[in-house]
């Protein structure tokens, strides 16, 4: 039985290691400025934890096998030196790991509002994402969903018709962004909690009703990416998707002009 356990644990360890090394499914290519740092963070984490995993399973297997031919067990209550050494080692290791994680977090979250960032208001509703741009005047119009929202009439966000700043707002079902510029996302939700998740940009932020949450990203690679909703919001949660189109600066300007002309 000991040999069987040894083989099983070795098999599990090897199979898991192979799975993570070969990784037939893995992170999508990172296309935002924060992706590189995050991916590096993941790499460090997976290597550290993977090593501990392998060491732990192999040690377990080895200790199990070692007991096979014993006549009598050792009456051994413990060894405080080993205990203390292990505790300090693991504490130091995890503390270092934590500090590097915190540094990454502060870089991601503590930002001081880049001037000139493109502002996009993101609204989640059951089960659709809407993206609003302030238009030529750079000001978002007032919205009051309870009074004015009529998705079937083309006003899903409830733009106040009396507010002139709202007349040039562009409401889009796709998130169109210029590459290599800071984007400021302002997240709202109309009914329940949703979550904007763009795996390719390593971005996730909950959209909470009653709150206006600011987040920043900076796409660096043009292309088409997908948004998935990452907070259970009802029966349509699985199909609450949207497209992200990262285009060049000129294409972005052209798109805005074309949309403004249409409205």
């Amino acid at each position: 039985m000991a040999i069987a356990l040894l083989l099983a644990l070795i098999l599990i360890t090897l199979a898991s290691a192979c799975l993570f090394v070969v990784h037939p499914w893995w992170f999508p290519a990172g296309v935002s400025a924060q992706a590189a740092a995050m991916d590096h963070g993941f790499k460090v984490a997976l290597w550290l934890l993977g090593t501990l995993f392998i060491a732990g399973q192999i040690t377990l297997a080895f200790f199990v096998v070692r007991s096979r031919r014993r006549a009598k067990a050792a009456y051994y209550q413990g060894n405080w030196r080993f205990e203390a050494a292990w505790t300090l080692t693991i504490a130091a290791l995890f503390f270092w790991f934590n500090v590097s994680g915190e540094k990454l977090w502060s870089r991601m979250m503590i930002h001081h509002g880049a001037p000139g960032a493109v502002q996009v208001e993101v609204t989640g509703a059951q089960f659709q994402w809407y993206f609003r741009y302030p238009g030529a005047d750079g000001v978002f119009g007032r919205t009051n969903a309870q009074k004015f929202a009529h998705p079937e009439e083309g006003n899903p966000l409830g733009l106040d018709p009396a507010d002139p700043a709202g007349r040039d707002d562009i409401v889009s079902a796709a998130l169109v962004l210029p590459a290599n510029r800071d984007i400021e996302l302002i997240l709202h939700a109309q009914d329940v909690i949703h979550s904007l998740f763009i795996p390719a940009m390593r971005f996730k932020q909950d959209a909470v009703p009653g709150m206006s949450i600011h987040a920043q990203i900076r796409p660096v690679q043009p292309g088409n990416y997908e948004i998935a909703c990452a907070e259970l919001c009802g029966t349509g949660h699985y199909r609450m998707r949207a497209a992200v189109r990262v285009v060049s600066e000129e294409q972005f300007a052209a798109w805005q002009k074309a949309r403004a002309a249409n409205e």
């Binding site: 014993r70 006549a71 009598k72 067990a73 050792a74 009456y75 051994y76 209550q77 413990g78 060894n79 405080w80 205990e83 302002i186 009653g210 709150m211 206006s212 949450i213 600011h214």
Partner: protein, 250 residues
């Protein structure tokens, strides 16, 4: 089976080991078994032991109820200070509307509850004395001999609840509970949960009071009153705390 000694390693420094390998005689008053005398053990069914057990149980009950109200307090304080976040002003929206409390009625209720605490304490002491006298053989227990302090406590308890109902009704008629006022929601849940837990205590007292009529064991009746005593005093203290909270943190 032969025991070979090749792997004998006696750990004589049980600093981090040692589930206590047989230290007799063990330390006095450690709390566990017999407090120093290995040959005698506690009678788990004695009145004294039953009482101590009940007291531990009541303390735990109080801890649980206390946690509930700590939780509600924190929610209340945080909600009052921090409404929805307004990114334009980079601050929390202060949408709190103070609830105007009907002080007269609330002070009357408070007085009633405090009075009931006093009468319960009187009832408890009398009952304990009766049981002790009976144990010493001085005087047998006679039901219904004493002033019905217990009955009075129950009445006062109901009186407090009636007073709370009056306050809630007043608020309902004024429309305080409707319309977008978080303060009123918290008022209702704080006072409501207190009243609900008070009802629990009342039921225990009713059980004890009914004992005079239904003839359960007097000792059990006394224990019920003992246990409820601490709980009831806690409820009175909790009410004072809630009243103070609703007044000072408006």
């Amino acid at each position: 089976m032969p025991i070979t000694s090749e792997h004998v390693e006696l750990e004589r420094k049980p600093k981090l080991g040692g589930g206590g390998p047989g230290k007799t005689p063990h330390r006095r008053g450690y709390g566990g078994g017999d407090d120093g005398d290995p040959d005698r053990f506690r009678d788990f069914h004695s009145r004294k032991e039953r009482l101590r057990r009940l007291r531990v149980g009541v303390v735990l009950c109080i801890v649980s109820v206390g946690t509930l109200f700590v939780c509600l307090t924190l929610a209340y304080v945080f909600r009052r200070q921090m409404g929805p976040w307004d990114p334009l002003t980079k601050g929390y929206v202060r949408d709190w509307i103070s609830v105007r409390l009907p002080y007269v009625q609330l002070w009357i209720n408070t007085a009633v509850l405090l009075l009931s605490s006093i009468t319960l304490e009187l009832a408890r002491r009398r009952m304990t004395r009766q049981v002790e006298f009976a144990e010493l053989g001085i005087q047998p227990i006679r039901f219904g001999r004493d002033f019905p302090w217990l009955g009075l406590t129950v009445l006062l308890g109901f009186g407090f609840l009636a007073g709370q109902l009056i306050v809630w009704n007043q608020f309902r008629l004024q429309g305080v509970f409707q319309h977008a006022n978080p303060g009123s929601s918290f008022f209702f849940i704080l006072t409501g949960m207190h009243a609900l837990h008070l009802v629990g205590g009342l039921l225990a007292l009713l059980y004890a009071a009914a004992g005079s009529v239904v003839r359960i064991r007097f000792e059990s009746q006394m224990l019920a009153v003992e246990a409820t005593g601490w709980y009831w005093h806690f409820m009175a203290g909790l009410w004072m705390y809630i009243f103070a909270l609703l007044y000072f943190v408006r």
